[in-house]
């Protein structure tokens, strides 16, 4: 179908879900769920089609669409994908789809819930495809804002506090980001918001780039769970309901890292290179710090939350290796994007397994469990599989992602690289601690009545495991795609 605006169609899937959800009266819960499932399924199909249609031999940005939006401010609706966009678009679609399926049992305020969630996904797709800074920021804010009601209404454990904390953190990030983005526009002469055109701008002197880059990096970094501005993320994970945690850790945190790459590193390569050692150090600190904090946590979701801080540190480390340039820059980028994808799927699996247990027990304290794997073999196995992926066991997608980042890191920043690899020991330590306490060990008699995952509830989880294994065994599928990512000029 030449000329079919496939990217717009993908962005519209959740928007249609949103509108349909709003139109259906709230008492028809089943209809709402079916509508959302269908729209999510459509987005998966479209994301796969984008993957298939993307011409890797050409590379660069493809499937571009461009039209005027607010002409008086030079704002245009420009979308296009490169390798990174394709990969992350698929990630979003998968997490959207499996998230809808795993909330099939939701009973409270079904309509509102699915509406907010669709709005969130709408924003996420927009960010991954947008090539206009204004549109990018517009979608970005759309993606971030629904988190507040989603957590405050459907959450648990200090939900108002967490929702407020999360929103304030992200707003603070946006406050840094906004002047940075406007500076980009103004400095280039105030004629275009297009990222690709801006990247060519001769006005971005080295001094300007060095000055402007931290605004963008830290502004987006807050959302990426960048140490030491990660505080919102574990709290938010804990409070959020299952599918929101899945989306939140699985996709939303990637928006931050993607923003750094798409806007920061593309438009301000010199600034990025200048700051790379500093931010790489912070990223490594995050890897180790996250692992250490996770070692002391007693709440399932807090452990996963801090493991996300640690794993996102690997993404940021990879990105900074890319920004620093050199022989292994591309390897660092490959690893970073692969890790975004792998971590997204893995955390979704983690949260869906924990959510399944929490729904029945209303307890998430790992000390209150024991021998879960014999009580709920399938749910327990899912958790163990996710844990193995987190530890970087070969056969799972994360293995390759971490391998690539570490290979690049040892060669670019030997000390940081070695520290990051040593971090693997602590990752194993906190993961095995959770497994040993909750999944293995003597059965806790309180939970003998737990019901294991049924066929329907198994479906989303099986999809996630399948994806992890697929890209664990055939990493080239994704690496070829990432390789088409456009370099900074």
């Amino acid at each position: 179908m030449p000329g079919f605006p496939i990217l717009t169609a993908t962005i519209l899937c959740p928007l249609i879900a949103l509108l349909v959800t709003l139109l259906i009266p709230g008492r028809h819960e089943k209809a709402i769920k079916i509508a959302n499932t269908l729209c999510a399924l459509a987005s998966v199909i479209l994301a796969i089609t984008i993957w298939a249609q993307y011409d890797r031999s050409v590379g660069g940005f493809q499937m571009m669409e461009d039209m005027a939006w607010l002409p008086s401010f030079d704002i245009r609706y420009t979308v296009g994908v490169d390798g990174a966009g394709v990969v992350l678009g698929l990630l979003t679609a998968i997490v959207f789809f499996t998230g809808v399926l795993s909330m099939w049992t939701l009973k409270t305020r079904v309509k509102e819930y699915f509406a907010f969630k669709a709005a969130l996904v709408f924003g996420v797709f927009g960010v991954f495809f947008a090539l206009d800074i204004f549109a990018f920021f517009f979608f970005y804010e759309i993606a971030v804002l629904p988190m507040y009601p989603l957590i405050a209404i459907w959450g648990s454990t200090r939900k108002e506090y967490s929702a407020m904390k999360l929103t304030l953190f992200l707003m603070a990030g946006s406050v840094l980001l906004f002047p940075g983005l406007i500076a980009l526009y103004v400095q280039a002469g105030g004629e275009t918001w297009n990222i690709l055109e801006l990247a060519q701008s001769p006005q971005y002197t080295r001094t300007f780039q060095i000055f402007c880059y931290p605004f963008i990096y830290i502004g987006f970094g807050v959302l990426a769970g960048m140490f030491p501005f990660h505080g919102w993320s574990p709290t938010g994970h804990v409070a959020a309901p299952t599918a929101v945690s899945m989306l939140h850790a699985g996709v939303l945190m990637k928006l931050g890292a993607f923003g750094i790459l798409r806007i920061g590193m593309t438009c301000l390569p010199l600034g990025a290179a200048y700051w790379a050692p500093t931010f790489a150090t912070l990223a490594t600190a995050g890897i180790i710090y996250g692992a250490f904090v996770a070692m002391r946590q007693t709440d399932f979701k807090y452990v996963i939350g801090f493991s996300s801080v640690s794993h996102m540190g690997i993404v940021l480390l990879g990105l900074n290796i890319y920004a620093g340039g050199g022989d292994v820059a591309q390897t660092g980028l490959d690893g970073a994007i692969f890790q975004m994808f792998a971590h997204g799927i893995m955390t979704a699996l983690f949260f869906s397994a924990v959510g399944f247990i929490y729904d029945q027990t209303h307890d998430r304290d790992i000390r209150h469990f024991g021998g879960l794997v014999s009580q709920v073999p399938i749910a327990g196995s899912m958790f163990i599989l996710a844990a193995m992926c987190g530890m970087g066991v070969p056969g799972f997608a994360s293995f390759w992602a971490e391998l690539l980042v570490f290979i690049a890191a040892v060669q670019t920043y030997p000390v940081l690289g070695i520290l990051a690899i040593v971090g693997l020991i602590f990752t194993a330590a906190y993961t095995l601690r959770v497994l040993g306490k909750a999944m293995f060990g003597p059965r806790n008699k309180n939970w003998e009545h737990l019901v294991d995952v049924g066929v329907w509830a198994l479906l989303p989880r099986a999809i996630l495991v399948g994806v992890l294994l697929l890209f664990g065994f055939f990493p080239n599928l994704i690496l070829d795609m990432i390789r088409s990512t456009v370099w900074g000029p």
Partner: protein, 624 residues
């Protein structure tokens, strides 16, 4: 014979067995076991055929797995002397253990899962051994570790088993960090992932000029760190004694042909590289000798049969590394091969005794009359024990001789003395174990820690065929494999094997016999006290029993500080960062409230403030 097909069959059969057994037959235990054993048989036949029909030159069958840019990642099977022998050993011993498990695990509710994991273990180890590619090596090295984790923690409701599995995974991972960095540097230096290609760079004596000697030292040292973890050498040896928490067949597999063997195999694989790193080789000798001595002392006082065997594994791995460190590929490799047979044999015998008497305690097993009831097992125990102790004509004797005679270089006298010391202790503790079982003496001073509990199914045959057959096969192996030294040397392309003369052999034989005689005096003869000569020095006995307090030291010096750091980070997070941000937010809200308090509706005040502000602005602008 088509070698490519054979190799393919050999390495894929266990994977199929694993997948089918785990997914399809998790609850149909007997079918799962049958499938896994069938796959093990395929691997064995294929690997032995490959060994018999091997070509003199190395062959590699690889297929491109994927490409990154123009760099192709090839996976496959490398057939040369080192892989062919080890592959057959792995397949043979795994099959023996699988058959043995048929009865041993017969009534276990997780039997299907057990067999599936055994197949996973075999698959990982085979593909590690046959690796044609560095990356493949690393992947399967990790998977071997994963499979051992799953099997050590097989009885996952037992907290001690979970702790042991966790410990094994973590401690080997410490080593893996070294290995991982070493492999990255090796790849960077050699520019290829091809194992054969790398071997060819380093195989000729002397380094290529393009490579700095310090770099090779660094790489070799880092690789050895991985070996220390995997092959349980000091200071990362403490996981192996705990690993016996797994079912006994797992211990037999873990201690002989898989897991710990992987570490030593890595050194044999890159022995050319290690030869170019003399400082590392000396380090290996020091660590290996020290480990061999250290763990032998622990074995002399341990009462748990499996623990004695575990300590002896650590010490025998030290022996292998001594041979390799002294520069003799053949000596180390030969001992790796012979040890696989007799150690698997000893563990299977231990399993049979434990199964029938319900205790791990040597003294209790002996007093329960196990030796009389289980004659074939006891013959196996004697054969395995004699091989381990280095009694002439048994397997261990030949390979140990080669290691001892390899230690002849300048400055290696001290290692040779250490090796003799360890050999003496080995003979002593081995026959302590044999005599405690065969010549129980209820009136001796020995006190069992754990009484015997005959099994519920003790009325069944004491020595069922499924358990006896593997013991017989491995006993035969332990009897004959020692005579195949020259053959193994030829397959390894070792040019000249130094055959020790009678005069050179004599000291080792004397030392071994001395150990046996002393064990006889202490434990074997009628009215022996059965307390051992170590008990003459109670402090030493305590020290050995407490395993030199190494676990305690690690607990204080490493585990606690790590937990402290974690607590510190946790505190920073909750009380520092979180509190800080919270107070920022709360104080902002407070400022808002305070300011709001000023908004009380007094118009005069508002206008007054406005006038003052405007006036100051005007004044400020006017002044400029």
């Amino acid at each position: 014979m088509n070698h490519e097909l054979l190799a393919l069959a050999c390495v894929t059969a266990p994977l199929l067995g694993f997948a089918v057994a785990l997914i399809g037959f998790r609850r149909r235990h007997s079918s799962a076991a049958a499938i896994v054993i069938a796959s093990g048989l395929v691997s064995l036949v294929a690997s032995v055929l490959l060994l018999i029909t091997a070509r003199p030159e190395a062959q590699a069958f690889t297929a491109r797995w994927f490409m990154i840019e123009d760099f192709s990642i090839e996976f496959g099977v490398l057939l040369d002397g080192r892989t062919l022998i080890m592959g057959s050993v792995v397949a043979l011993i795994t099959l023996c253990i699988q058959v043995y498990s048929l009865y041993y695990m017969a009534s276990d509710p997780g039997k299907g899962r057990f067999f599936a994991f055994l197949a996973l273990f075999e698959w990982s180890m085979l593909l590690f051994v046959y690796s044609a590619n560095l990356l493949q090596m690393f992947i399967f090295w990790e998977l071997v570790g994963l499979a051992s984790f799953l099997l050590i923690g097989f009885w996952y409701e037992k907290p001690s088993a979970v702790a042991a599995a966790k410990k094994a995974f973590l401690m080997t991972r410490v080593g893996d960090v070294g290995l991982f960095i070493g492999l990255i540097l090796l790849f960077q230096t050699s520019g290829t992932l091809d194992v054969l290609g790398i071997a060819n760079i380093f195989e000729p004596h002397g380094l290529p000029e393009s490579i700095a000697p310090q770099r090779i030292e660094l790489i070799a040292m880092l690789l050895f760190v991985g070996v220390i973890g995997k092959s349980a050498q000091f200071p990362l040896h403490t996981w192996l004694p705990d690993a016996m928490e797994g079912p006994t067949p797992v211990s037999a597999l873990l201690h002989s042909a898989t897991m710990v063997a992987a570490g030593v195999f890595l050194v044999t694989r890159f022995h050319g590289l290690f030869l170019d790193a003399p400082t590392t080789m000396t380090t290996i000798l020091w660590i290996a000798t020290f480990t061999a001595l250290l763990s032998s002392t622990m074995a002399m006082v341990a009462k748990d049969m499996k623990r004695v065997l575990a300590f002896s594994s650590i010490s025998q791995l030290g022996f292998m590394l001594m041979g390799l460190g002294a520069g003799s590929l053949f000596a180390g490799y030969f001992h790796l091969t012979t040890h696989a047979f007799f150690k698997a044999l000893l563990f299977l015998c231990a399993g049979a005794y434990i199964h029938s008497s319900g205790t791990n305690d040597l003294i209790a097993i002996g007093r329960a009359g196990a030796a009389r009831r289980m004659k074939i097992t006891t013959i196996g125990l004697v054969v395995g024990g004699a091989a381990l102790a280095g009694i002439p004509m048994f397997a261990g004797f030949f390979s140990k001789e080669h290691i001892l005679s390899a230690l002849h270089g300048p400055g290696q006298m001290i290692f040779k003395i250490g090796a003799f010391g360890a050999a003496f202790m080995t003979a002593y503790y081995t026959f302590r174990m044999v005599f405690l079982i065969m010549r129980p003496n209820p009136n001796s001073q020995a006190t069992p820690d754990e009484p015997a509990y005959p099994h519920d199914d003790a009325h069944g045959p004491a020595e069922p065929l499924a358990m006896i057959l593997p013991i017989i096969v491995l006993s035969l192996g332990a009897l004959v494999i020692g005579f195949f030294g020259d053959k193994i040397g030829a397959i390894l392309h070792v040019e000249h094997i130094h055959h020790p003369t009678i005069g050179e052999m004599a000291p080792a034989v004397v030392v071994a016999l001395l150990g046996v005689v002393l064990a006889w005096i202490d434990f074997g003869r009628a009215n022996a006290k059965q307390r051992g000569f170590v008990s003459l020095v109670p402090a030493a006995e305590k020290l050995f029993e407490k395993r030199w307090y190494i676990d305690e030291i690690y607990n204080t010096a490493i585990v606690r500080p790590v937990i402290m750091i974690a607590k510190l980070c946790y505190g920073t997070e909750t009380r520092g960062l979180d509190k800080g941000i919270d107070s920022l937010a709360y104080s902002t809200a407070k400022v808002g409230r305070e300011v709001a308090r000023g908004h009380v509706g007094r118009l005069q005040l508002y206008i007054g403030v406005a006038v003052v502000v405007v006036a100051s602005l005007v004044f400020y602008v006017g002044m400029r």
